[in-house]
């Protein structure tokens, strides 16, 4: 038997977890590009270093984003991945698919590219991994014929994504699927034609469990919540009490605000102290439900470390009702983008700009009131700025 050309990667075909190497090999049976990818990756495993050059600027007519250019640094050895670009395809809200749509995506990709994908990239797009420059336009044309458009990349609005929400979750406080689709359609121009200082991401989770990690992975985070009382079904509480759930220890004692009381028969929630963390509802889904007045909290600024350190989004609007046609939230997004475009430096994320200029400047520009919900605690240092109108002006 001939000696294998990819001994290191072959090791990763063993074991119980589905193997990406097997996937590349399957594609390599049909695609010379996938075959060269396999062999270049083997070289990386041997050298313990990547073999891709800095991407050049490639794309399709009319768009400035959606394609990541990529070139091999060893085209002498692997001519079929000399160019190996990624196409980001905007996924349907919540990553729901009908098989005929997925099949048409596969047919198009087998015709134009390597036959390899990521389902999905961490921003949400379906990622078509590896094609040449001269296929980009024709691939795009076929995609748009089949009803697919590109997602975002570069200094643009990136593809919004959302949790499964009302599609399959009893805790959804906003229609995350509809809002995601609506915003994506509304901001097509901003997605396809980079016009911002840097990237801008929107993610929507329909409750504070935050299943798309919106607070950590978006500049503009929409997280569903409610006002008013958690709905309690006493009969179901009793059913839980007689199951192996220890309501006192597992629910009440872990409530972060200790706003629950359990006397062995009745569960009481002092809702004015509840911070809607979801813990009790997560543990007793049949007995407890979010309150009836539903909407979302808007948080801003989340990002990874580069350049100024990682940030989690923080509260900007404590409560906003979200119903079609979503005018209030669209208006807020536009005003934020205007302020950021005007004041942001090149490659400065929104969170970094707010840090640099201060929340008070940001709030004033947006005409939003300061509220205690925005902070964990008031400042501890006395280096306080006042606006000119706050102080008595000198009498001339």
């Amino acid at each position: 038997m001939a000696k294998s050309e990819t001994p290191l990667l072959d090791e990763l075909e063993k074991g119980k977890w589905p193997s990406f190497v097997t996937e590349i090999k399957k594609a390599a049976e049909k695609s010379p590009m996938a075959n060269d990818l396999l062999h270049q990756l083997e070289l990386s495993y041997k050298d313990r270093i990547g073999h891709w050059k800095h991407g050049g600027i490639v794309g399709v007519k009319g768009y400035g984003s959606g394609v990541i250019g990529r070139y091999s640094d060893r085209p002498d050895l692997f001519p079929n991945v000399q160019a190996f670009h990624t196409i980001r395809v905007n996924h349907p809200s919540g990553w729901f698919y009908k098989t005929d749509a997925l099949r048409s995506l596969c047919d198009i990709w087998d015709k134009h590219g390597s036959g390899l994908t990521n389902m999905h990239g961490s921003t949400g797009d379906a990622i078509l991994l590896g094609t040449t420059t001269d296929h980009l336009q024709t691939c795009f044309d076929d995609l748009s014929e089949a009803g697919f458009d590109l997602g975002g990349s570069g200094s643009a609005l990136r593809t919004p994504s959302c949790c499964v929400g009302p599609g399959r979750c009893e805790w959804a406080c906003v229609d995350s699927l509809d809002l995601c689709h609506h915003l994506t359609m509304n901001f097509q121009d901003e997605i396809h034609r980079p016009m911002f200082p840097y990237k801008f991401k929107i993610k929507i989770s329909a409750c504070p469990n935050d299943c798309v990690a919106s607070i950590a992975r978006a500049d503009f985070s929409v997280i569903g919540t409610w006002k008013g009382d958690i709905r309690i079904d006493p009969a179901e509480v009793e059913a839980y009490a007689s199951s192996d759930l220890n309501i006192q220890r597992e629910v009440c004692d872990l409530c972060p605000t200790r706003c629950m009381e359990w006397d062995g028969r009745q569960l009481k929630i002092f809702n004015e102290d509840c911070t809607r963390c979801m813990h009790c509802i997560n543990l007793m889904p049949k007995a407890l439900r979010p309150g009836e007045e539903q909407g979302a909290t808007i948080l801003v600024g989340g990002k990874a470390p580069i350049v100024e350190g990682a940030l989690l989004s923080w509260v900007l609007v404590p409560f906003m009702k979200l119903e079609p046609p979503y005018e209030e939230i669209k208006d807020l997004i536009l005003r934020i983008q205007d302020w950021w475009s005007e004041n942001g430096r090149s490659r400065e994320r929104l969170g970094e700009l707010i840090k640099r200029l201060g929340m008070r400047t940001f709030l004033r520009a947006l005409d939003l009131p300061a509220t205690p919900q925005m902070v964990k605690a008031p400042r501890t240092n006395p280096y306080v700025f006042f606006w000119p109108e706050d102080i008595q002006q000198e009498v001339k």
């Binding site: 589905p18 098989t99 990690a213």
Partner: protein, 352 residues
Amino acid sequence: MTTDIGPPDYKTMIPPVVQRNYGKWLFHEILKPGVLMHVGESGEALYTVRAGSPRLLSTETIRAICEIADTYCDGYLRFTSRHNIEFLVSDKDKLEPLLEELARRSYPVGGTGHSISNIVHTQGWVHCHTPATDASGPVKALMDEIHEYFVTMTLPAHVRIALACCLNMCGAVHCSDIAILGIHRTVPKPDNSRVPNLCEIPTTVASCPTGAIRGDMKNKTVTINNEKCMYCGNCYTVCPAMPIADPDNDGISIWVGGKVSNARSTPKFSKLAIPYLPNNPPRWPEVVDAVKNIIEVYAAGARKHERVGEWIERIGWERFFSLTGIPFTDKHIDDYEMATETFRSSMQFKWR
């Protein structure tokens, strides 16, 4: 040529049972690992079977998945925010046959409840130009070893694992229970002959978090103050003539204690547990062992519903290091902008 059509409308992609019960779900149950039942106010039920995926998929495999969805799910499926595949079953009689078919084809079914679901990860050596490690390889090596935790629900709480191959941290690395992060340890080398043509000097200078880069306008290049550089690689992202990758010194750091949900405690960043482990392809044994050790010590010591970060905050970081046997070093002590906030300004600590 048509532009700006946006994604397909999700309303055309959701199964009829979802259309009928949209926004009117009443409760759910986890029937067994990987199998959920959602019941609507109408009394109708939707069954979901969650299967693990390597995320990097060939079109051939996508077609195979479609075939399964056609047979058991009337042609409907979805993907999760952690890249798992979910088969959406409306006919209860088809549930067991689907599970049997998935078992026959060796698809792992799990990732629900107090388990370890899929690892959110990035491109690595498969496609990116700035990685300090691979993504798919370490993920496969680790998921093989911790497979039991995917197909069972025996942990105190969910354990989310994520991997990013460089400090750009595409993905959820900075907020995961356990995070695997590729790092460099050597200073980039500006190629003075290429910098003038390829790079904008002010952008390159501004890209450095620690101000280690100076413009050398006379020679149209830049110089780096080695003492200030912590090898983040961001200058290379904006200036291709500053390569930084180094096979012998690149590797992986391990972070712990992050979370994004609001349940019980507020969302938390992951914090440094192990500053460096070598890149050792194809199976990264040092990384796999280190992560397994953390999971096992956590599983043995945490209380029910306690996430990794909540467990560590209860027992204290000094206990975390003594229980896991991970050495604490000067690298664990923050020396970036807000460092002093992480220092212990109190008399409350344990001896080990």
